[in-house]
Symmetry: C2
Subunit: 186 residues, 2 copies
DNA sequence: AACTATACGGAGGACGCCTCCGGTTCTACA
DNA sequence: TGTAGAACCGGAGGCGTCCTCCGTATAGTT
């Protein structure tokens, strides 16, 4: 990779992150290019579409979440660990207005670069909680992450988002608990 | 209202419904106008923005759901009635690709014409279930509808939407059940 | 039939996405 | 150090969408 190409790539990435935070993930790509001091053509060469750009931006942040998941793997209560981690994921999604919507709108194919590591990390936490018999055996990590994102999405438009978020998360996570007799062994 | 105005209004409404089903709720407004044999200006005069059009289209269908809710008010199991009704809401939302997303993206203000009657109808069902002590007292109908829409949204993009939808709905509704000792009186 | 309030329609400005290719710049190699 | 050419840049331009504005047409009334 030529030095100028690398430089432009980095600038675009930094500018995109900024734009996504300020204007949401549907920020104008032309604006991003302009602020990065680069032509629109350059942006599209490095990132064929908006999702490529988003994947690049969020890849780093996702890594942080996977680290947290690893740490939580040794926490006392497996279920608490899982729940706390899901809340972290939600907080992250909330930071970028529109991220949750974009992730879903993308169909399953587009944002895999971000999703796959998250699933791996969260899957371990879920499995542990299921093995402990505390969480329904038929829950999948994909479902849980989907639900979490959905709740973020629902809440983020509302003036009292925090309250709504907490209530919905509570409701959902309450449903996660294994009913008596339905454990991982069942 | 002048006769020609009324005629155009009706045509636009019919065409919009068709377009929303075929292309999703982000169908092109110019297309809708064209198919209705009407200028784009006419569309905007009758419906100041996309949400006005959506409200008009869905108002009728919402009425059907409120009727169903009334019927279910006399069903045997209050909780079953509530759950069945929420599933109906979900089925309706699913019919129009993007409806769920639009309802949320609109903030709370825009789609009230559709939401208010739904809340009234569902609220009665929820209250009955809570009174019976079968459903958590801290659940609100607004939350439940939000959650339902969220699940529709999550599922609609996926190839196996039906399966995902069922699992998530199960998970959520399971969380609805009142834990021992936490009833409407608590 | 004439009048007027009401409604029509589409041209046009603004904006966003994305492609394409002539021009520029870096770098490897002599 | 000079240079050839691969790699890269940039933005003009085509397309689609939203929405506004205002000259024109028409329904309904007297």
């Amino acid at each position: 990779m030529r030095a100028d190409a690398q430089r432009n790539y980095d600038r675009l990435l930094a500018e995109a992150r900024q734009a996504f935070i300020v204007h949401g993930t549907d920020a104008s790509l032309e604006d991003i290019a302009r602020h990065a001091g680069v032509g629109i053509g350059t942006l599209y060469r490095h990132f064929p579409d908006r999702y490529a750009l988003m994947n690049a931006v969020f890849e780093q942040e996702v890594e942080l979440l996977t680290v947290r998941a690893d740490e939580l793997l040794t926490a006392d209560s497996p279920t608490d660990a899982l729940v706390r981690w899901l809340r972290m994921v939600a907080v992250h999604s909330t930071m970028y207005r529109g991220l949750a919507a974009a992730i879903m709108a993308a169909g399953d194919a587009k944002m895999t670069a971000c999703k796959a590591p998250l699933r791996a990390a969260g899957g371990a936490l879920l499995e542990r909680a299921q093995r402990a018999g505390e969480v329904r055996a038929d829950a999948t990590i994909a479902d849980l992450l989907k639900l979490t994102n959905a709740i973020v999405l629902v809440a983020e438009k509302d003036p009292e988002r925090q309250a709504i978020f907490d209530r919905l998360m509570d409701l959902t996570l309450h449903g996660l608990r294994a009913p008596a007799g339905v454990t991982a062994q069942a």
